[in-house]
Symmetry: C2
Subunit: 351 residues, 2 copies
């Protein structure tokens, strides 16, 4: 077995405190003694204080957790998530904090357990569907946390964008181009995935908070143009992936009066929509498509989309966690968004 701090102390002939200080508080003992301790430790193969024991004693872990709905293998499918984590990592590194990636099982009790078992000093909550159960579990542990989608309590730390206004800007752009018959594409639109094509009685019924907010924004712009919610076609992707976006979009072709534009709630879904539309030949190519996030590929392909600062969002979230603002009201940070118009959106084709 690996030697412990105690063994080193005995070998050197000093107390455990002194050995501990040799590692954690070099100023508390003479350089000479410290050297002697470190040297003996090296010879004995002592790897330094055990991280777990130190955490227990100090009450600090030195890691922050990033909470994801569902499997990471799925979450990382969206470049936006990767950029968010990158931002979190950047800030964490500056604070000598490690990053613990915590995927949440779909069932509530499993998710709760995952939160309860994570050895961290705080949480960044990345776009979780069911915020409430998760937040309750976090609060239960008494750990600080930062939310990035739905806002929770007024005093809770949060970083995000004005989802609804941002979505509205994309829709307004299409309205201006003359589009009136359009489809909205999102995931988690229904409690359970039903058919791809359906009418949702009310935007407020959409379970996923982000999808709901963005859909509401889309609807705002069209309502202003005289198009009521009930006239919008809603496409439900089974998840937030390109393939799912394509599958959901392909249902459009069979419509008697197909829409002239598709507004996607994310770029990955938008790419899926483009894939599906390209397969529809001439008609499909005429359909305008907008996305959300502005991931790198959007520029390459020419996707009109809403840009939100991904890395900055992650970085800010981590900073909010690691450098808590003195004033609680400074704990809510709204990030800017921009509509980026590219070639995937254009005027309504006359026919």
């Amino acid at each position: 077995m690996k030697p412990t701090l105690k063994a080193v102390a005995e070998a050197v002939g000093v107390s455990r405190s002194t050995v501990s200080n040799a590692y954690g508080r070099p100023d508390q003992l003479s350089t000479e003694l410290r050297e002697r301790i470190l040297e003996t430790a090296r010879q004995m193969g002592y790897p330094g204080p055990d991280p777990t024991a130190r955490s227990l004693r100090r009450g600090v872990v030195g890691a922050i957790g990033v909470l994801f709905t569902s499997r990471l293998s799925y979450a990382f499918t969206d470049p936006f998530a990767v950029r968010f984590v990158t931002g979190v990592a950047e800030a964490a590194e500056r604070h000598d904090s490690n990053l613990l990636l915590v995927p949440l099982p779909p069932d509530a009790s499993g998710a709760r357990r995952a939160v309860e078992n994570a050895a961290v000093d705080g949480f960044c909550v990345y776009c979780v569907g069911d915020e409430e159960g998760i937040l309750a579990a976090i609060r239960g542990r008494g750990l600080p946390f930062v939310t990035t989608s739905a806002r929770s309590g007024a005093d809770d730390r949060w970083v995000g964008i004005d989802e609804r206004a941002a979505a509205r800007s994309a829709a307004a752009h299409l309205v201006e181009l003359g589009h009136r018959r359009v489809a909205l594409l999102g995931h988690d639109v229904l409690p359970r995935a039903a058919s791809d094509l359906l009418r949702v009685a009310d935007v407020a019924d959409v379970p996923h908070p982000t999808t709901r907010d963005r859909f509401a924004g889309f609807a705002d712009a069209f309502a202003t143009a005289g198009v009521p919610w009930s006239d919008l076609t809603v496409l439900t992707a089974r998840d937030n992936t390109r393939d799912a976006g394509a599958a959901a979009t392909s249902a459009l072709a069979s419509l008697p009066e197909p829409p002239t534009a598709v507004l996607a709630a994310s770029d990955v879904l938008a790419f899926g929509a483009l894939d599906a539309l390209r397969e529809q030949g001439e008609w499909g190519r005429q359909v305008s498509v907008t996305g959300f996030d502005d991931i790198a590929e959007a520029a390459t392909v020419g996707l009109t989309t809403v840009r939100q600062p991904a890395e900055q969002k992650g970085r800010t979230a981590a900073e909010l966690l690691l450098e808590p603002p003195a004033d609680a009201r400074a704990g809510q940070i709204l990030l800017p968004t921009t509509l980026v118009v590219r070639t995937s959106s254009g005027p309504v084709p006359r026919s």
Copy 2:
């Protein structure tokens, strides 16, 4: 302060062991008592056993660490790294293990400390430059680990590809197309970043193990075609990014006899090369470029490259860690690679 297990025990009027069992070993006590304990705990706001204390006592953390050279914000710049982590995450999730992302500071002692302070049950080492120092630190802790680039000891677990043969296949393809005057593009080619354009006395001098192996493979194929190492132009990117690849490649234009092809040690570098060459007008467009990894964008752009199974590499690494093979010799897994020929490579232009 949050209540502890002890407080719950006192409140219910049972011993701490019993409360502990209520959480960790439900079969050790009557359902009725268990219910009563859990209910009281809930009312008191006890979040369940503290993860750190449990880890200390049990000797198991429930997380595996992934070691990266340098900042994560840089590592995640390469989609290959993201896919690797995704694979690791997939296997980790199956084993109810969390993922701790551990960036290693560039200095040896900082890196050592990072390894010593990580609360994990084992490590996946992702492409670290200085393997030895790191591995020594891991061995010092007595934790299991899996390596993915350089192989270490014969009994150590490892998953990877035949770097050299894979690189050779790309170079052989260019040889067949008639290329004889070519440039190799890689990062960490020199101990310290010197000029972009230089002669390296010997492949064996390249410090980065992966770059070295791939360069050696490139050189193999050209040696067979009668082109010695000294006739190959070596381009040094300051790091493994698209921009650095572009910067390094732009030096080519000023050469009296510019090469007809660029062999990059990674896809991101290859994209950089393409960026730079496209700026050179007609001449640049004629230059063949090959990459390595086959990240998603390679297909979009038509980059000829060597495919290696990214997710599988990560998944296998984690599995090797979490399900140690009974036979040590089964701990070394070689993954297949394929040369994927696309449009970025073609015959030597006559001029």
